[in-house]
Symmetry: C2
């Protein structure tokens, strides 16, 4: 962290990136001030990396973005995104997404293959090119390299999110100053109807395409893939990273080099911060639950145990009620799809209010229920699980399960 | 079904089985009339088959029952069960479970290895032998071969269940009349803190031990393993089947014989009925959701797709709101861990109020929203998914996700 400094500016913090957002009315139920179409533009060609949903049903924007990445992975110039309609399971969805990129390209005087696209909203709702045709030329005229413009991007992609999620950092690589900025939306990491998770990261670092993709894949596994809100994986999950090289550092061409590691750490911090923000803003959530697993046989086991804990509906409901129901924690640990001894597990719960050991050697121990309830009444709770069976650590993020989760999802489409 | 007749009597319907139940106060928060300790006894030695939880953290009763089954699989005489405490993650849990079997054995004048035990309730709550020592001798004196005694068993094992779950059938096998009866509890199939699902089936059919286990394993896969309430697998899930042979049919010794098939069908009907009852009584549930998958590449794919649909929190919340949110259904289908084409899927929702096609070739189609809402307002809803990519069918059961699920699980331990 020593080399990282938090700065303002979001996705416009890196040199050469600008953005603009507008309300075109795709997200119908929203207030008239809610912007729902946005664009991020780099003045120079970018190498781009991406990660998409594992769901077999994929949104049309993913099909189009994949094709554009294949044809022009080192000359991407823009990302366009809308909220309010996922453009998924629509017969003419691919055509609309392709045409939208074309409109943006024409306005920006670039090729349409240089444009990536992402959409979030209701699945299977019909859509036309009109909002894109009307909105994108306006956006091209309003591009600004400013913190306000970046903040608008973070706002424009929100659906059921309750808070804007963005961060930007400055770091030094090879003697030059570089910048990285990111924003995301997602109030279920994995949450179909909203077409869920969109993450856009910009950087002015100079890095080779394959190294960028390699680092992004690793960092995604260690950040967003550790988040679980509700176990549903969206059709539209998308992470884009654009790197325009304007920091003019010596190019990072080796994934194992010191400079690659420097960038890895910067990207990791951006994505970890955004992932935590997504977990804390899980639909209806009142608490961020972090599970840290220690002394596992290996890292994969540790991560699986951590994910199993934060994914348990029963445990999530208990945490909502500030109930130190350690039996549910042990049960969730035992449900992890991994091999480890289950008879010597310790569990400690911690928060700003302190820490309480609630399980030792997989058995109950006396503890102060009032103190445990105080610990669990905080907004950010960590469940520390010691498997006592190795040396590897793991981590996962989630949130509590509340009445409001049901309310939000029972009423979302209407 | 032609050979099956529904009769009264539950687990006491088969010849030679009796039962008794009593309140010993293990389930503290319950009203004083709630029985919480029960016994099922056969007057003749039984061959026994069992299926236990896949959770790596297992209740002490499972450890003890497994040992008894290994030593005496063809001479089991009794099942004892309690609600209110899962006897799991207790340091002296195995000793207590073993001693409880010993008390029952002494009262019944049999060996303790002839007794199986199951417990359901809070995990990690300390326990003593006292309620068993006090209650089991009383039960041994009060055994009755009656429908009322069987009904009491079904009541005594309930935790958050809202309705008693039992069924019994008469059927003919090899020219003689045989009987089968079953009861279960579970308001989350898979639901840790309650130590969830207990299923007890009795039959007077004459069947060899290995054939019984073989059939039970298959039937469990096609019935209870198709139920999902909340994705949490309990530490104490247990299915016991006892067969005492008193129907005096020619012994069933070949799993592929006609008589084995006859028994398979009878056991399947009992377990399917109980599994549906569990799904319909899912914690907080207002609706039974059945997903039927047609024309899948193979049966495993079909079952995985069906299970994925009924397991989606988002879809379950939409069904609670009677919202024909077919995008969530497509998304849940796409999340199934199976290979199949995702671009030609049809979805129809049906209930007593009719049927409405809501998705064709993986895309939206116009449908009457009011009619769809009427269909989804019924208590029992079927989501029919046509994958159009093969000839295999699949099935799964679940329930909607409601405010009450959160309420029940936020407050369960208190």
């Amino acid at each position: 962290m020593d080399n990282l400094k938090i700065i303002r500016g979001g996705v416009c913090a890196p040199v050469g990136f600008s953005a603009a957002s507008v309300r075109v009315g795709i997200k119908k139920s929203a207030p008239s001030t809610k912007k729902d179409l946005t664009i991020i533009v780099s003045e120079a060609d970018c190498v781009a990396a991406a990660v998409f949903t594992s769901n077999k049903v994929k949104g049309a924007p993913i099909t189009v973005s994949k094709a554009h990445l294949e044809s022009d992975k080192s000359a991407i110039r823009a990302i366009i995104a809308n909220s309010g309609n996922a453009n998924t399971c629509n017969a003419n969805g691919v055509q609309i997404a392709e045409d939208a990129c074309g409109v943006a390209a024409k306005s920006l005087k670039i090729r349409k293959e240089q444009v990536l696209i992402a959409s979030t909203g209701v699945i299977g709702q019909s859509m036309t090119i009109d909002p894109f045709a009307n909105g994108l030329p306006v956006l091209a005229d309003e591009l600004a390299h400013s913190a306000a413009a970046a903040s608008d991007v973070a706002h424009a992609i929100m659906t059921t999110d309750t808070v804007k999620k963005e961060i930007s950092l400055e770091f030094e690589v090879g003697g030059v100053t570089a910048h990285i900025g990111g924003c995301c939306k997602g109030s279920g990491m994995i949450n179909p109807n909203m077409a869920t998770l969109l993450v856009f990261v910009t950087t002015d670092v100079n890095i080779r395409s394959d190294v960028l993709q390699n680092i992004l894949t690793h960092v995604t596994k260690k950040t967003f893939n550790r988040v679980s809100i509700d176990g549903d994986t969206s059709t539209n999950d998308t992470v884009f990273v654009l790197a325009n090289g304007l920091a003019a550092n010596e190019p990072i061409t080796d994934a194992n080099s010191e400079y690659a590691h420097t960038f890895y750490v910067a990207l990791f911090e951006v994505m970890l911060n955004l992932a935590e923000a997504v977990a804390a803003d899980g639909e209806g959530a009142t608490k961020l639950i972090t599970c840290r697993v220690y002394n596992a046989p290996d890292g994969e086991v540790a991560d699986k145990v951590a994910k199993s804990v934060v994914s348990s509906n029963l445990l999530k409901a208990a945490i909502f009620a500030a109930d130190a129901n350690w039996g549910r924690i042990l049960c969730a640990i035992g449900n992890a799809d991994a091999d480890f001894p289950s008879d010597n597990i310790d569990v400690i719960i911690t928060s700003l209010s302190g820490g309480v050991g609630i399980c030792k050697a997989s058995g109950g121990i006396p503890f102060d229920e009032d103190e445990a309830a105080r610990v669990l009444s905080e907004k950010e709770i960590t469940i520390a699980v010691n498997l006592n069976s190795g040396e590897a650590d793991g981590l996962a993020f989630g949130c509590d399960l509340t009445y409001d989760y049901v309310k939000i999802n029972a009423e979302y489409r209407t």
